[in-house]
Amino acid sequence: MTLTTGGAAPAGPAPSYELSVNGVDRRVEGAHAGDSLLHVLRDRLGLPGAKNACEQGECGSCSVLVDGVLVCACLELAEAAVGCAITTVEGLAPAGGEPGDAALAGDVLTDVQQAMVEAGGVQCGFCTPGFVVAIHDLLDRDPDPDPLAVREALAGNLCRCTGYGRILAAVDQVVRVRGRGTTGERA
């Protein structure tokens, strides 16, 4: 028995449309009309990185970028996202890479992903992909956020394991390393 993540469509009349996910146009067949973007990503397109902890926008575990904006995939009607550029955790590219080209290919991690692993920001891991996307979003907009700004920016992502301490340490690590890379002398 081989198990996969991501599955086949059930039978039944349903819309067919195309979504642009991680730089690739993906045909969505047989989805239920009311399916959320989260459901379509996970169960039609084989992209389980966005997680299904609450499906009501109260946990951030399904965080993705739609046209570059951080959103909860569970609150996006999939069919209404036609024409938008969707980026999931699977499509985050390490610095210098193009969306979708590296992360899926192997163990090449972005600096945020690397820091989350190294700092101990990962326990059960269910919140982790959402945090990774949200931290990228934050640090892309604000490369040197003050500690309260970090907390406010990440307050939409619940974690039940870590108490957030090591996740904040991971953010610090990325800020430090990125800062060194650009200015060479950050405090």
Binding site: P15, A33, G34, E58, V71, C74, L77, G156
Partner: protein, 287 residues
């Protein structure tokens, strides 16, 4: 089920004329929860995502003097936090900052907050205190309703099925504007009670609206007048304690809170009194 996603407002209105049973999708932060949990199964969905003209805002002079900001219906909470808009509507920005999470603020819209019409809708007390006007449009014309005529009950509005909320007109006040909200968590928390207060020194007016303590935002013109006539408009500094206390007591008396799993009615009434007093003192000091 079909999803229609027009680019132009006229097309959206035409679609709604042709199928008034359509469910309008703006940010989706309310609708999709109901869909995901099976409590709502929309037949046809009209998505406003691509109607870019609804995402804009502009400043216009008001007929009676002063300015007002015309906020397109799909202006998001994050948009309200941008410095230029926040400078014009600071209390609305303060309220927007308490909405959900960054993800929700990026998606949820001011029009959605209005049309959902939840008693706990965070922007509603601010809009009520500022005497905002809701603009509705249909294929056959436009109309504008004062907020209190638009919100007719908990989760009930005066919008007709063939109408869209297209904008909300929010007067730009000249004095301090305050928004306070009680939640027991620092993010993603539904208001237990909230309070918006606006002071206009030149016009010598005060307006206050309470959220989550009644079916719709609570205003009490008698309480406002009571305070207005007792405040010493020629002096700076703190308002006289008896005025602040009396005003807060009157606002609390005007509230109509309920007991539910989020808080007791008694606490809500108490909290409203504390918030109204603090809002007045804070605003008066800044005025």
């Amino acid at each position: 089920m079909t999803v229609t996603a027009p680019d132009r407002l006229d097309d959206a209105l035409a679609a709604l004329r042709d199928d008034p049973s359509s469910t309008v999708l703006a940010g989706g932060t309310d609708l999709m929860v109901e869909v995901n949990y099976g409590s709502r199964r929309p037949e046809d969905v009209l998505s406003l995502r691509r109607v870019t003209e609804l995402r804009r805002w502009r400043v216009e002079p008001r007929p009676g003097g002063g300015d007002e900001v015309v906020l397109g219906a799909t202006v998001t909470y994050t948009d309200l936090l941008a410095p230029d808009l926040a400078a014009l509507l600071p209390a609305l920005a303060q309220a927007a900052r308490t909405v959900g999470s960054p993800q929700i603020r990026n998606t949820g819209t001011i029009g959605g907050n209005l049309v959902t019409g939840s008693p706990a809708g965070d922007t509603l007390p601010v809009l009520a205190a500022l005497d905002a006007t809701v603009e509705l449009a249909s294929a056959s014309g436009r109309r504008a309703l004062p907020l209190h005529d638009f919100l007719i009950g908990p989760k009930r509005t005066a919008r007709r099925p063939d109408e869209l909320v297209v904008a909300v007109r929010v007067p730009v006040a000249t004095g301090p504007r305050e928004f306070l909200k009680i939640g027991v968590r620092n993010a993603m928390v539904i208001a237990v009670a909230s309070c918006a207060l606006v002071i206009d020194r030149p016009r010598r007016t005060l307006a206050c609206a309470l959220g989550a303590v009644g079916p719709t935002p609570v205003r009490d013109h008698d309480a406002e007048m009571w305070a207005t006539t007792r405040l010493d408009w020629d002096r700076a500094g703190a308002p006289h304690p008896s005025v602040a206390e009396g005003f807060a007591r009157r606002m609390a008396a005007a509230s109509r809170p309920i007991d539910d799993h989020r808080a007791t009615a008694a606490y809500r009434r108490h909290a409203v009194e504390v918030m109204a007093r603090r809002a007045l003192e804070r605003a008066w000091r800044a005025a």
